[in-house]
């Protein structure tokens, strides 16, 4: 089984306070810690598990500047055999559609049985790159995959539906699967492992290597263009409880008491 896994280097924002930058079209990057996109982390783990069970190769691909190498190094340390980084100033401002075109230009030249992506990225949250890529590669796909079982020439996968329900579907290989978090438990990588991965080669490719033109990528090759970012309006004005932890705890206990909750 040869597997291609697409990964993205993104800022961790779940617990960070974000600020919109002076252009109004992006967030302030300073102070943010970047890592592999959470969904891609599960996709990578699934790729490595399939390789370990069925043998084959795992190729990790990303699009981004030099700092994305740390995400590729993580992939190599976790069990990917090859890493490719597509990089070009012209790629900037690409939305999911343009990103899929760039990924397609490379993946179509590789041998693969399975392509894995995260179901979405924690930054844009478009949830679109996987199925677009599948259409361009003319292979079947399934999204939001929570379980994979490989057979001969097919894969049985569970897709997450709403309210805790799942559906099992059978998909012919080669195919693309976009992975939902929780499908597995991503393994821990040791510092030694990352060090060893430092010696592996990361293949670099630019726009000229893709066969695409300037008009296919960046804002010109995208479906949408960001006009402005803004802080979401507040739905309900919460009362902020201030003071020392002790004082706050007293207030909460008092609120609960007054409402008969304790």
């Amino acid at each position: 089984m040869d597997i291609v896994v697409c990964v993205k280097h993104v800022p961790e924002t779940a617990e960070a306070e974000l600020k919109i930058d002076a252009t109004g079209k992006a967030i302030e990057k300073t102070g943010l810690v970047y890592d592999i996109n959470e969904w891609d982390d599960y996709a990578l783990e699934e790729a490595v598990r399939i390789k370990e069970k069925h043998s084959g190769t795992v190729t990790a691909i990303t699009i981004g500047a030099e700092d994305s190498d740390s995400t590729l190094r993580k992939c190599l340390a976790r069990g990917a055999d090859k890493a490719i980084r597509l990089t070009d100033p012209k790629f900037e401002g690409s939305d999911g559609y343009a990103i899929a075109k760039i990924l397609h230009s490379v993946i179509k030249t590789l041998h693969f049985d399975i392509v894995l992506t995260g179901m979405q990225a924690g930054d844009d949250g478009n949830a679109m790159v996987g199925p677009i890529l599948a259409e361009m590669l003319k292979i079947p796909h399934a999204t939001m995959v929570k379980k994979m079982e490989l057979g001969t020439g097919t894969a049985k996968v569970n897709r997450e539906l709403e309210g805790g329900l799942e559906e099992q579907v059978e998909v012919k290989l080669p195919a693309l699967f976009s992975v939902q978090t929780g499908i597995n438990e991503p393994r821990y990588v040791s510092i030694m492992g990352i060090r060893k991965a430092m010696q592996k080669e990361i293949k670099l490719m630019t726009l000229a290597d893709t066969g695409l033109t300037e008009n296919d990528v960046g804002p010109a090759g995208s479906w949408s263009r960001i006009e402005k970012l803004y802080v979401p309006p507040v739905e309900k004005q919460a009362e902020f409880l201030k003071g020392s932890p002790e004082e706050v705890a007293t207030r909460i206990a008092e609120i609960l008491r007054s409402r008969g909750l304790i």
């Binding site: 924002t13 967030i27 949250g125 805790g164 929780g182 705890a249 909750l261």
Partner: protein, 331 residues
């Protein structure tokens, strides 16, 4: 006259709420753009659903085929490709659900439509089509302009538009179209629905819920939270990352892919408040949220907000609750 398509979403015989939410928003856009509202219903023996949709839309395009008993994005794509080619609608709306996510990107690519996903608002302004969506787990809203197209395709976030019936029923016309599916779909086949294994605790029945999220950081901190829940006489529920890590079973997950809860008290610790979670708990009677990020989206759904490290709040809170309970026991 140009049309706006709304793809009806249904499963196991039930129409899903997102359908009526989209029809409501689509009606507003149709009025502004002078377009006609068309509901598209694909399924097996779904005539009754078609009648209901006819109360909302001018036309119901109905395709019935035994192969449409369960959703299959490939079957849907083939049929919608034909309907879109024949009708050239201005806008096609579907849910940003497990179905829409599987279908929309591929359909847009195949037909060269312009797609925007997970929209929380949309409209035509001076000939341009713009959408509003969220980034970074709901911490930032973004307004984006779509590339000009003959047909725009959007997926709509669930529970964003309140469903409303038209003032007067539209008495829409049901137009049944012979199924354009010619052969079996073999590349992707529905096998069965899979229910999660039943767990021991029904969080939807709990009056008091302690919600925990990513901020819990380590499995070693779980007993402390369990204890707090117990002190309160409540149970632990959680957002997605806790279940993903295996710290709590699936039936404790609150949100779109888990349970919807409406307890008397919901205290959230270390939950930032991505919409997937918020949709499952925002109707709770009293919401108290504790988070380190002063701009955490959960605060805009809370009654009381505390900007603090949860590990500093939990221990004194537990002892204060004890104190109150002790006073009550022996006044």
């Amino acid at each position: 006259m140009t049309e706006i398509f709304v793809l009806a979403e249904h499963r196991q015989g039930l129409m899903r709420d997102i359908t009526y939410e989209m029809l409501t928003k689509a009606r507003e856009i149709a009025e502004k753009t002078n377009a006609e509202l068309t509901a598209v219903l694909l399924g097996k023996d779904v005539k009754e659903h078609a009648k209901t949709l006819a109360e909302y839309a001018k036309t119901v395009l109905l395709v019935q085929d035994p192969r449409l008993e369960n959703f299959n994005s490939e079957a849907y794509r083939k049929i919608l490709s034909k309907l879109i080619a024949d009708h050239k609608p201005l806008l096609v709306m579907m849910g940003h659900t497990s179905y829409g996510v599987d279908l929309a990107p591929r359909l847009a690519t195949a037909l060269d439509l312009t797609l925007a996903t997970d929209c929380i608002d949309l409209g035509f302004e001076n000939e341009a089509f713009t959408v509003t969506r969220q980034m970074f787990g709901g911490k930032v809203n973004v307004k984006a302009a779509a590339r000009k197209a003959e047909t725009y395709l959007v997926t709509i976030r669930q529970a964003t538009f309140a469903p409303q019936k038209p003032a007067a029923p539209t008495n829409g016309q049901i137009t049944e179209i012979p199924s354009p599916l010619t052969e079996e779909i073999t590349e992707k086949r529905f096998i069965q629905y899979v229910l999660p294994p039943p767990g021991g605790v029904d969080i939807t029945a709990a009056e008091k819920l302690v919600g925990i999220g990513r901020g819990i950081k380590d499995v070693a901190n779980m007993p402390m939270m369990e204890e707090l829940a117990k002190t309160l006489g409540g149970v632990l529920g959680c957002s997605r990352p806790i279940v993903d890590k295996g710290w709590l079973p699936t039936d404790r997950q609150i949100g779109t892919s888990g349970k919807t809860v409406k307890p008397k008290l919901y205290i959230a610790f270390g939950i930032s408040g991505a919409f997937q979670h918020v949709l499952g708990m925002k109707s709770s009677d009293l919401i108290i949220a504790i988070n380190k990020d002063p701009k955490a989206p959960i605060f805009s759904f809370a009654d009381y907000a505390v900007v603090e490290d949860l590990f500093k709040i939990v221990p004194p809170l537990k002892s204060k609750i004890y104190e109150v309970q002790a006073k009550k026991a022996c006044p």
